[in-house]
Homo-oligomer: 157 residues x 2
DNA sequence: ATTTATTGGGTTGATATCCACGTATTTACG
DNA sequence: CGTAAATACGTGGATATCAACCCAATAAAT
């Protein structure tokens, strides 16, 4: 008699149909693939695009503030910066006012590449919102922000 | 005069506030962390939990069907199976009816661990839905399914 | 029946993600 | 002041994710 201690199949159906974590992972993977594919001619991923975009401001932000903005682990951001630094798209410099902090800035090449990616983003984002059919994208964004924790901090300069 | 070719700052604000890809990645990361933390005593990640749960059925599914269900790349699933196989939670066997296909089954240890994880999932999922405050979780799930592509295929046995 | 196309998976290489641990700097406190 | 707590990052290790390329087995075409 197999599966003496197995969870009942009804639980499996419940998780499949209702788990927000699973639903989020699926949607995040699917949408990320769309953006990755669209950005591939520029040799950028969706995460690299979002990261570069978050650095497009006059006051160079620190590692911690960007990682909070993107709701990612601080060490993940450190890792993600390496290929961008290697390609000369981003530069880091120690903050003279607080020598623990590193300030992140786009290079000219980084800014140019980011500018070239904007039309791709516009197009892909429109296609993504189109997938929602009649649903309200802003309402979805509100829900996603609520799940992202109190990290929707200010990016303003 | 720096940033001659930089995207205008208004674009940055627009992406930050409206990009569904970014919003999804943020929420997915944040929620995944919650589940990972809750499941850590069982030495499971949210992805491992979802994968094990998707194998809790009488007819052992193939790699391709599970990867479609989870909306992940086929090769990602192959990689994710390795630590679970190493721990003796999952077994794979060539399908005699089609020798290209590998059928995935939970072991007794896998079923037992999954059963132990169900209460953790219940608790964590309730906390996640609570983050939505007044919003309708089912409406959010509907939106997420629309973004996950036509992969919400049947898991039924 | 042979050839061809399709399908199901695996492997490798690169990036992504997070945790546990450690280091350096700054701030707070006594 | 000088020490303790807090802050800002980095490294190493493990898993996660996907593209590109390859192989084996089945299905389709002539």
């Amino acid at each position: 008699m197999p599966n003496c201690k197995s969870p009942p199949f009804e639980i499996t159906l419940k998780v499949r149909d209702s788990c927000l974590c699973l639903h989020l992972q699926r949607a995040a993977r699917a949408v990320a693939r769309q953006f990755d594919e669209a950005l591939r001619p520029l040799d950028l991923t969706n995460g690299q695009f979002s990261l570069l975009m978050s650095l497009n401001r006059s006051e160079p932000p620190s590692i911690g503030s960007v990682s909070a903005l993107l709701a990612m682990d601080r060490t993940t951001l450190t890792a993600n910066l390496k290929p961008l630094e290697r390609r000369g798209l981003v530069q880091t410099a120690i903050d003279p006012a607080d020598r623990r902090s590193r300030r992140l800035t786009l290079t000219a090449a980084g800014s140019a590449l980011l500018a070239a990616a904007v039309p791709v983003w516009e197009e892909t984002h429109a296609a993504t919102e189109h997938l929602l059919s009649g649903a309200d994208p802003e309402r979805l964004r509100t829900d996603l922000r609520a799940l992202s924790g109190p990290r929707a901090v200010a990016l303003c300069p």
